[in-house]
């Protein structure tokens, strides 16, 4: 597939609110592409609390973040949205008259008449350990995700963390690495019990190392690590290390959004409450990322905002076209769009 696309609307963020925006836009006949920095739909619901029950979604006395995401994906499927996973939007060029071009870090470019920012708390990024000088090594010697597994062959790997990411990569990379050392702050792991057992078996068999403590120092030169210093209460150990792989989960940062010329208030995008338009005409913001008088950071508020935004976007995507307000219960036109008529 080419890196150049054309659509009606680009939605930035595929959390529950971004997903529902596809539905509301779809009813008006507006097509959408979605871009998300994560490699799956659901945003915070899927990344932070997939298993946590949510009790305040209308008509769902209880639903998990993952199930809510799955249901929304099912609900918007008739509108055939196009997803761009694992990409971060770098810039938005253009305006409401000429149209916009959205560019991502992966080189994707999408032309669209309007933009909807549904970026929640911002961009999910790996938590970077606060070790002095780590930025000097990030290009060659620190990995927050494994993109090319073969790069790990024949290397001294130091993997840090106590969850499934850390454990899974220990188990996966142990056979091809020269040596894997797992570093964790306590001798207790929250990852899947089966993975914990496999890891402990490898340690018992002398095939990998487990160190309880925290990485506090880096040794190396010219961006290449040679060792890390692991400190515990009692001792300090120098561990040979070519690649350091910290897995502390993700944190949300505003990222490039602050450079898109939008009026902000305490790191949230200011919008009007009629169309949820930002200070840049043609760019809308819905869900947790926006702010206005009386704002409540609720998924249901985001759904409401998506509906009103869609009518605002219609005026830009199809200027001059009159919106006939219809209900899905009675309109055969809407039912046809939903594929149920």
């Amino acid at each position: 597939m080419s890196n150049l696309h054309t659509t009606d609307v680009v939605i930035i963020g595929a959390g529950p609110v971004g997903l529902f925006a596809v539905f509301e836009l779809g009813l008006l006949g507006i097509k959408a592409h979605l871009i998300d920095v994560l490699d799956m739909p659901g945003g915070q619901c899927a990344e932070l609390y997939p298993e946590k029950p949510i009790y305040d979604i209308p008509a769902w006395p209880v639903i998990s973040g993952q199930e809510l995401t799955d249901r929304l994906m099912e609900q918007i499927a008739p509108f055939t949205p196009v997803f761009h996973w694992g990409e971060m939007v770098q810039s938005i060029k253009g305006d409401a008259q000429k149209g916009f071009v959205v560019s991502t870090t992966e080189g994707t470019q999408i032309k669209a008449a309007a933009i909807v920012i549904a970026a929640g708390g911002g961009c999910f990024q790996p938590k970077r350990p606060p070790i002095v000088g780590i930025e000097d090594y990030e290009q060659h010697s620190v990995r927050y995700a494994v993109r090319q597994r073969e790069q790990m062959r024949g290397q001294h790997l130091v993997i840090v963390g106590g969850g499934d990411s850390a454990l899974d990569w220990c188990l996966d990379l142990q056979p091809i690495a020269t040596r894997v050392t797992l570093v964790h702050r306590r001798d207790d792991f929250r990852g899947a019990p089966a993975s914990v057992k496999k890891m402990r078996d490898l340690v018992a068999a002398g095939k990998m190392d487990l160190l309880i403590g925290q990485v506090k120092g880096l040794v190396g030169a010219k961006g290449q690590l040679t060792a890390v210093e692991v400190k515990s209460k009692e001792s300090s150990t120098i561990v040979p290390c070519d690649l350091l792989m910290p897995f502390f989960g993700l944190t949300m940062k505003l990222g490039p959004l602050s450079e898109w010329g939008l009026e902000l208030d305490a790191n949230r995008i200011k919008v009007d409450t009629e169309k949820f338009s930002t200070s840049r005409p043609g760019i809308f913001a819905i869900g947790d990322i926006n702010t206005y008088a009386g704002k409540l950071k609720l998924i249901l508020s985001g759904f409401h905002e998506a509906a009103l935004m869609s009518h605002g976007a219609m005026a830009i995507v199809r200027p001059g076209e009159k919106i006939v307000f219809q209900y899905t219960t009675s309109s055969s036109n809407l039912q046809k769009k939903l594929g149920v008529a």
């Binding site: 606060p130 989960g249 950071k297």
Partner: protein, 104 residues
Amino acid sequence: MNLNITNRSGQVQQLEFSSGETLMKLLRDANIDISAECDGNCVCATCHVYVDKLWLQGLGELGEEEESMLDEACEPEDNSRLSCQLVLSSAQDGMSIVIAPDWQ
């Protein structure tokens, strides 16, 4: 009832609290710089604080969920707690806490 809060710049300030509110909410309402990204769901570890060791015991046991989540806190120590999990009561009157560093 008051708490003594040391913020990330090292400044100390007193905050008044009432029983029943969480420390995270108190800090956020006072515009003290914690991100508390998940709004108190105990899934992000960005409301991390250090509690004065003399006061730790009075706070009760660290729950399993909170202990697990501290794995993803920035620079955890023995006196680390997640402020969203701390419900304040009169037993905390005079307690001192330090706001932990944030992820970069």
